[in-house]
């Protein structure tokens, strides 16, 4: 079956929202498990933190912060669209969510390195 072209901004916003949601659902259990090491196994946590100083891990963290942030702002856009009076600026709002997320994750990255 033919599929229509997907190249319009709100369709990309939809895909980014789903993918960031799935990635966060996978990441958060691992995140909480590592935090729990502070209580259960401090040595292992230290080893992990040394490993986390690796620049490659920083880049992964940057991606995670970006995904978390785009999921929050994208989600807020959807909530506003569904519960506040309609705004025609949906594409601009989706672009603003990307911009804000890049700003936040970029700031995080510059702090981290």
């Amino acid at each position: 079956m033919m599929r229509p072209s997907k190249s319009h901004p709100l369709w990309f916003a939809f895909v980014v929202h789903r993918l960031s949601g799935i990635t966060l659902a996978l990441f958060l259990p691992a995140h909480f498990w590592i935090m729990s090491l502070a209580l259960t196994n401090a040595d292992q946590l230290d080893r992990f933190l040394t490993f986390a100083d690796n620049p490659l891990v920083k880049i992964v963290e940057f991606c995670l912060v970006f995904l978390l942030s785009i999921h929050i702002f994208g989600g807020l856009r959807l909530l506003a669209m569904e519960f506040l009076p309609w705004s025609n600026a949906q594409k601009s709002l989706a672009a603003a969510a990307v911009g804000l997320s890049l700003f936040i994750s970029g700031t995080f990255f510059l702090q981290a390195i």
Binding site: M1, M2, P4, W11, A13, F14, E82, F83, W86
Partner: protein, 245 residues
């Protein structure tokens, strides 16, 4: 690479009959002004009279000529060949998300059945003996009703919607937009019947707000906006129901 032939179009049509589907190729004379409907009609008249397709008005009013052009749902009669040509090639296929009857003719029944299921019909309370109710044409509610009133049931938005593709039960953008139009019509009595019809498992809460319906509607309507209205009103009704209980 061969250069595009300025005198001819390379037209590929997805053809189907009871033996299955296949792509058929046609060379069609190129014209300065030519729509996809002109191309399909030329093929039917001069190359292969067995090609089946639908049209009526030729001017974007009847909604019967929609088909996939280079993978996008469009009105054939209002799509200029020059706007969609890929070199000298164009691919034409039957509308997505609907069963094909033959060639470019799809069965619109599932699409129209859903208009009924979404309760997008008038629910009267008065008789001809009652005075005609006054409706403020400038009122906010009337503006919401007017926004979707020009829909011509062409099913372009329905073909564009990935949620319909993934869930054939989903009522889809056009039927939901119609429900929202009637919901906001001051002369419609049974608003709750509409909210009940659109809040089920096949209803408005399936919509992922990806906006392909709005992006492709050739009438510049905004079914996604109508659906967000239904979502809001169904949630409000749900909360009201809870607090009354």
């Amino acid at each position: 690479m061969t250069k595009p032939d300025p005198l001819h179009l390379d037209v590929t049509i997805r053809r189907s009959d009871h033996d299955g589907s296949r792509d058929a190729h046609f060379q069609v004379p190129a014209r300065d002004n030519q729509t996809i409907l002109d191309v399909v009609s030329w093929i039917q008249q001069y190359a292969d009279p067995t090609l089946s397709y639908r049209f009526a008005c030729r001017v974007g009013m009847c909604g019967s000529c929609a088909m996939m052009v280079n993978g996008e749902p469009r009105w054939a009669c209002r799509t200029h060949v020059k706007k969609v040509l890929n070199g000298s090639k164009v691919h034409i296929a039957p509308l997505r998300n609907l069963p094909v009857i033959k060639d470019l003719v799809v069965d619109m029944d599932p699409f129209f059945d859903k208009w009924g299921q979404a309760e997008g019909r008038h629910h009267p309370t008065q008789t001809r003996d009652d005075p005609v109710p006054r409706i403020d044409p400038e009122g906010a509610q009337r503006a919401e009703a007017n926004a979707g009133i020009e829909c011509i049931n062409c099913s372009v938005c329905y073909a564009a919607c990935d949620t319909v593709a993934g869930n054939p039960e989903y009522l889809g953008p056009a039927a939901l937009q119609r429900a929202w139009t009637v919901f906001n019509d001051g002369k419609n009595a049974d608003r709750q019947a509409i909210l009940d019809a659109v809040s089920g498992s096949s209803g408005c809460h399936n919509c992922h707000s990806m906006g392909s319906c709005t992006h492709y509607c050739p009438n510049d309507l905004n079914p996604m906006q109508a659906i967000t209205g239904l979502k809001r009103e169904t949630v409000k009704a749900f909360i009201r129901g809870k607090s009354n209980a």
